[in-house]
Amino acid sequence: MRKLSVTVVLFLALATGGLSAADNLPGAMDDAPAPEPSIGVQDFFRAGELSNPVISPDGQVVAYLARGRIFVGNTLAGYRPLTRELWRHELLDLDWISNHELLLHRRARDSGALSFVAFELAREGEGYRIERENELAIHGYLFDAMPQSPGRVLIAAYVLEDGRTSADLFYIDVYGSAYQQTKSRRRLNDRTRHLLHYVRGQELSLHFGVTYNERRPEIWQRDGDRRAWELTWTGPQASSFLPISVSADGSVVWALSDAVTDKVAAVAFDVAGASISQVLYEHDRADLNGIIMSPDGTTPIGVTFMDRGLIRFEALTPEAERLYDFARAEFPDSDVAIIDMSADQAAQLVAVSDSGNPGAVYRCDRTSRECDLVSPLYPWLEDIGLAPVRAETLTTDDGFELDLFLTLPNDVAGPESVPVIVMPHGGPIGVSDNRYFSGDVQWLAWNGYAVLQVNYRGSGGYGREFRSAGLREWGRGIEDDIETALDHVLRSQDVLDAGRVCTFGASYGGYSALMSVIDRPERYRCAASFAGVTDLTLLFNGSRFRHNMRLRDRLIEMIGDPDVDMPELMEYSPVYQYQRLSRPVYLAHGNKDQVVDVEHSWRLRKMLALADSPVELHVLDDVGHGFALTDQVEAFYAPLMDFFALHLQGVGASQNATVETGDGPTGGSRAASN
């Protein structure tokens, strides 16, 4: 189960983040990437050169996903495609299940169905070929790669019953029939308790499971495989409990949980006593996102977490202290994150990045003390010199510590020369920004703008109290935090031009941008919103939300109850405050957005047009709550950059009018300026 912890690290290290991370789809990238004659917006949003790199248990072979294929190789032979392009599926994850077998996890682009493909590899010259492969149509996730049992894995298949998701566990021969092997009589658990996570004991016995009830974790245990499950522990509050591994004698389950702490901590759960017996490690500011286990998987030796926007590793044992020593010594001026290791932890895959470099993945060998490049992540951006992202922490008047990230463009002419774009993240609850490569931030910086991001109250990764502090603070405390951060950087960075500030975000970030301009029109020149919420009451109205009590309750917790708080919801909705929106507004919305319906942008556009206020609405065909293709990103950013150029640099002609869109219930299929 070591995979669980490193997966989290990998995601954080390689996530492109931001509002517009585009998948690497056909047309998004040529087969052999060559330097472009000039840099354009698509270059900032193309998928990275590789994702999901994994090292074989013996440390000899590295595999990764790139351009819809699996690549396999090693330092000496290089890395070559193992498969053809698999464009009909989104490639989600890749795991070694033995030294010569890979398991690919994928999602069908048309139906969304999850499945696996197992590959057995054979040497061919210096490279590898597929000896055999087999598709497993199982809608679930890899629970245990069981590298000591070639060809065998444990797969958890999702079950949706009575509105609750649980998982059935199956012992799978990866070259056999998924249909035959996932019949109900073959499952290792029983389905009586809707268990979602398990801890595997010796052999295939399952005596420990986790489920959630009213968002509280419940631990269920049983004495033997055929005994009934018993509820032995219930979390004292809404919280998480993610089992990572189990001690050698089976007496302790190591887990990540915030059941008894404010931050997600590494805890020991005493199996016999059925309680959390020890908090191994709790960071003073950050939720943990991973536990690194010893090579035999029985002892926690380190933890990982995000600290001021970067992944940090904290060793729990003297041996673990040395895990990072070699990689850090090799790259002393860079941020280093271990993303996978061989079973003996001697061979490591390491993500390396620094402020001006989008990053690369290396294979480091602690025994031979060598690091070799596997691949740069964004080679086409290496020569342009990315803008550095600076982190600061400040304290609000009411005592919250906020991380803020300021990205300044590389070419700064002098004092008060740089216009600023404030970019609040979406969510808002449980989501956060970090300092890793973001296409949105770097594209704006490349165009000469400073970008300010703020992990305001409610953001994820800072514990329950901080996260809860954002509830029902839409348009209030959250925006106060952003203003505090903005005032701070305008005071402290003399290159910023306080007279040229706009705000731009997606989803909640779009809402936040609009509310900030409503509250402080003197501070901002313009606001831009992609897929932004404009009417809090409308969030409850689609059939998807009206008939799903859990979603509705969650929304009520976040923004208020329309049955009792309607005046307040309207007071904090840009639509009903349209008369206070005196600055130019840019709205863009996908007509297939299932999270924030396109109607949100239409409502605000309609009200602003009524008042003859300057507004542009761009309805984007076949776009959802984010972008899937770099073409879509380009179509989105082209008019937006004109908008910023006009309002922040005085370049271009004023549109000062609404943009007409098509005449249809989906919000139209074209956009034209009048």
Binding site: A108, Q594, D597, V598
Partner: protein, 309 residues
């Protein structure tokens, strides 16, 4: 002598080839001429049938309105507006005159020698133009029929804005009246397209229940009757019912009713301004949603010179 013979054979061959080419060109010109005649004839028939149907509909409804001069005048004006909005002159120009003019140009033996291989393509293009022309006429007729239906609004009935969009193909979309075997209706087919009509329906509660579509091996039914995709209709009101959105991906399909009041109001303002003037709107989807009232109140206030600040 031998040389002469060869030369003669060559000349003979050239003459034969030229004769063949001439014959082929004549064949093509004849085919193009036939296409032009057909296009002229069938397009003229379409226009004639359209004019006849429009006159018949107008005459019939004006007869029904004979006791109400004001209503009759409004209806005439509406029909004129619908015909104007149909942009029939532009559609005629593109699909009738332009096609004939092109056919005349390529069919002129003195100016152009078409490749016979293109004749079929040209024929298909002309047929497609007639389909577009007919569709435009059908659209206008459907709009007029819709207006006549609206004018027949009876006791216990309400007007309902029925809006739907299909991402992918929906052959039929069935709406049932809850608690009644009758009173439902069906729309479609829609293929990446919208339906936007004002229907006259009995007061009550309605449910978007079923979408069907043909597939190579038969028909697929997607049953949404358990999804509570419902709206209500109040008598004597213009009822807003949201927008039914159907999305099919491979074998999977989903349907939602989205609250898109601003979009629906925008279309109503463009296409049915008199309905907005004459009927009070009832929100049959989310009665507690204040947006429609808010918008209409603000609009009236600003039009009355209330100012935006």
């Amino acid at each position: 002598m031998i040389r002469f013979t060869v030369l003669s054979a060559a000349i003979l061959l050239i003459n034969m080839t030229t004769a063949h080419a001439d014959s082929r060109a004549e064949e093509c010109h004849a085919a193009l001429s036939k296409i032009a005649d057909e296009h002229h004839q069938e397009s003229t028939d379409l226009q004639r049938r359209f004019a006849g149907r429009l006159a018949e509909l107008t005459r019939g409804h004006l007869k029904d309105l004979s006791g109400d001069a004001g209503a009759a005048a409004r209806f005439r004006s509406l029909v004129d507006r619908i015909v104007d909005r149909g942009d029939l002159d532009k559609i005629r120009s593109a699909n009738f005159e332009h096609v004939l003019s092109y056919l005349a140009e390529v069919g002129d033996p003195g100016s152009y020698h078409p490749d016979c291989a293109h004749v079929e393509t040209i024929d298909a293009w002309a047929k497609e133009a007639r389909v577009k022309y007919e569709r435009a006429f059908d659209g206008v007729i459907a709009d007029v029929e819709e207006r006549i239906e609206i004018d027949k609004l009876g006791d216990g009935e309400g007007l309902v804005v029925v809006a739907a969009y299909a991402f992918g193909y929906a052959e039929t979309i069935k709406v049932n009246r809850l608690g009644s075997l009758f009173g439902g209706f069906t729309i479609g087919p829609l293929f990446n397209a919208q339906h936007f009509r004002v229907h006259r329906l009995q007061a009550g509660t309605y449910s978007w229940d079923e979408v069907t579509r043909s597939v190579p091996r038969g028909r697929v039914f997607h049953d949404f009757s358990d999804d509570e995709l419902v709206f209500t209709v109040e008598a004597g009101r213009l009822n807003y019912a949201g927008v039914f959105v159907y999305d099919v991906r491979g074998e999977f399909a989903q349907a939602e009713i989205e609250d898109r009041a601003a979009i629906v109001l925008t279309i109503l303002e463009r296409r049915y301004p008199e309905l907005l003037e004459n009927y009070e709107i009832a929100n049959g989807l989310v009665p507690e949603d204040d947006f429609i009232d808010f918008y209409l109140t603000e609009k009236r206030r600003l039009e009355a010179g209330g100012g935006s600040g």
